[in-house]
């Protein structure tokens, strides 16, 4: 029972951490609170629906392609021309991009919610050290955990990762050292696209459906988790997302059935308490570029 809960909580925490890193990375590099992040997740989810008859990993690869393309297109068409705009303008632009993509999806490919039957193997349960664990929970943990390890490796061990971290902390200083905006900004959007795609694959598997407005919840999770952990710190954002996911799983296990519907009220009350004590977030550095 405890192992089952732990796998579920850590898996959900890892999923939420992926979503928050996506939000915090763009905030750090561009000063952009990207409300269109949810639509990048939706693009990945749509690919999971479109390629539902293909093997699961093929659908996953296509989800990555779709999400990265939407992320890069939003950068090229909307955010690139506004690169030197103030954060409020960028934020409003991201609202516009979010609504535009959502409306486009609703008018064309997703006029209504589409069911995506879960893969057979995802509905199985396996015996793990005596605990009855769902394959879906294991997959969530393995996929999101592996992705977090890959992101940590990329950020810590590669030149691009170091440049991304530096740009996320202080873009102007990074730029004056020769870190090229034309390299780090599109790279950040590609990274965000990949993270969103992995998140979308897990969300589709858990929810069994795809809709034009399905990006709202992951976007909110990303923003709230990043604020909780600290917007100016990628590690902080990951921690914030992880804690948010783990707390969600904990509340789902502990709350009486008639209170489950109010789970988010408990969750966000706790968030307010944390932010009252540490308004800068749990691990935030000193530098936040948005005034």
């Amino acid at each position: 029972m405890i192992l089952e809960f732990l796998i579920s909580a850590v898996g959900l925490g890892a999923l939420y951490a992926l979503l928050t890193i996506g939000v915090a990375l763009l905030f750090g590099v561009l000063g952009l609170m990207n409300f269109a992040y949810g639509e990048i997740v939706m693009a990945g989810a749509f690919a999971m629906y479109l390629f539902r008859d293909q093997p699961w990993f093929v659908a996953l690869l296509m989800a990555i392609v779709f999400a990265v393309v939407v992320a890069l297109l939003s950068e090229r068409l909307a955010f690139h021309p506004l690169r030197n705009a103030d954060p409020v303008t960028l934020m409003i632009a991201s609202f516009a991009v979010s609504l535009a993509i959502q409306s486009l999806a609703r008018m064309t490919v997703l006029p209504r919610t589409r069911g995506v039957p879960p893969e057979d193997f995802l509905s199985h349960r396996v015996d793990l050290l005596g605990a009855d664990v769902s394959v879906l929970d294991l997959l969530t943990l393995a996929l999101c955990g592996a992705m977090l390890v890959a992101v940590a490796w990329m950020m810590g061990r590669t030149s691009l990762g170091i440049q991304l971290r530096a740009a996320a902390e202080d873009f102007q200083m990074a730029s004056s050292l020769g870190v090229r905006a034309n390299l780090v900004i599109p790279s950040a959007f590609v990274t965000v696209g990949v993270l969103a795609a992995i998140g979308s694959a897990v969300l589709v598997a858990r929810q069994g459906a795809v809709s034009a407005d399905m990006g709202l919840q992951p976007m909110l999770i990303g923003v709230v988790g990043a604020v909780l952990g600290g917007m100016s710190s990628l590690k902080g954002a990951a921690l914030g997302g992880f804690l948010l996911g783990a707390a969600t799983a904990l509340l789902e296990s502990l709350l009486p059935t008639d209170l489950i519907a109010f789970r988010d009220a408990f969750l966000f009350s706790a968030l307010i308490v944390v932010l009252v004590v540490r308004p800068q977030g749990l691990l935030s550095g000193a530098k936040v570029r948005v005034s």
């Binding site: 030149s159 170091i162 440049q163 971290r165 530096a166 902390e169 202080d170 102007q172 200083m173 990074a174 004056s176 050292l177 020769g178 870190v179 710190s233 990628l234 590690k235 550095g285 000193a286 530098k287």
Partner: protein
């Protein structure tokens, strides 16, 4: 001439004039200091050279290329700027900060040799190579900022208040390094409030008065003969003890 500023005007917002008609130049291999009180416009001028604040009048050129020119970025990549707040990336280690210093360089073997030289110049950086930069003291962070700036192999080094808030022993170290760099032939614009030490080490100095007007310029001895400068700084060249 490496750096030339002609009749520069810089304004913050609609009405705050930070720099008003400032002109100065730095020749190749020269150590020039820019001294003046808080709010005199020194750091603003440096930011304008880096293209971080817009110019409202006049010109700034580096190697005869204007900062407003579209092709200036190629020149800017050869200017190292150590800002007043040091610009250290707190979430990166010392080693990662230094790695960023040479990010634009293609000559990797020469870069490795330069890194070794900077680690000899600042041994504390070798000692704390894997430590998070946020854990360094102010003096150690300043050494990291200067070492990182030098790894760019700059054509022009802009040092903005490098000794601000540091212990006297570290102030001595920083000025020793500045003199060393001057002897190695580096072109340096040093922004300082510590007028006495700056006058001692510089080839020439500009005394700036708010809002960014040059009150006087020249060697320490020449400045000491200007009554307005002596009155503004509160001491004369004789008191500086210079005999350059």
């Amino acid at each position: 001439m490496v750096l030339r500023i002609d009749d520069a005007y810089i304004q913050y917002g609609a009405s705050v004039m930070a720099v008003q008609g400032c002109s100065l130049h730095v020749a190749e291999g020269e150590l020039v200091s820019l001294i003046g009180q808080n709010g005199a416009g020194k750091s603003t001028l440096v930011k304008a050279v880096m293209g971080q604040v817009p110019l409202h009048g006049g010109t700034i050129t580096v190697d005869n290329r204007s900062v407003t020119d579209r092709t200036f970025s190629t020149v800017r990549n050869r200017i190292s700027h150590v800002p007043e707040d040091r610009g250290i990336f707190a979430s990166l280690t010392v080693g990662e900060n230094l790695r960023l210093g040479g990010i634009t360089r293609k000559d990797k073997s020469a870069l490795a040799a330069d890194l070794e030289r900077e680690l000899e110049r600042f041994p504390v950086l070798r000692k704390y190579w894997s430590r998070g930069a946020s854990l360094l003291s102010g003096g150690e962070q300043q050494q990291l900022a200067i070492a990182r700036a030098l790894l760019l192999k700059p054509r022009l080094l802009l040092l903005d208040e490098p000794t601000l808030g540091l212990a006297p022993i570290i102030v001595d170290l920083i000025f020793d390094v500045v003199v060393q760099l001057r002897q190695e032939g580096m072109t340096i614009l040093l922004v300082e409030q510590n007028a006495v030490r700056s006058l001692e080490v510089s080839d020439r100095s500009y005394v700036l008065q708010a809002p960014g007007k040059v009150l006087g310029s020249g060697s320490a001895a020449e400045l000491g003969k200007l009554p307005a400068v002596v009155e503004y700084l509160g001491f004369s060249a004789a008191e500086v003890g210079v005999a350059r």
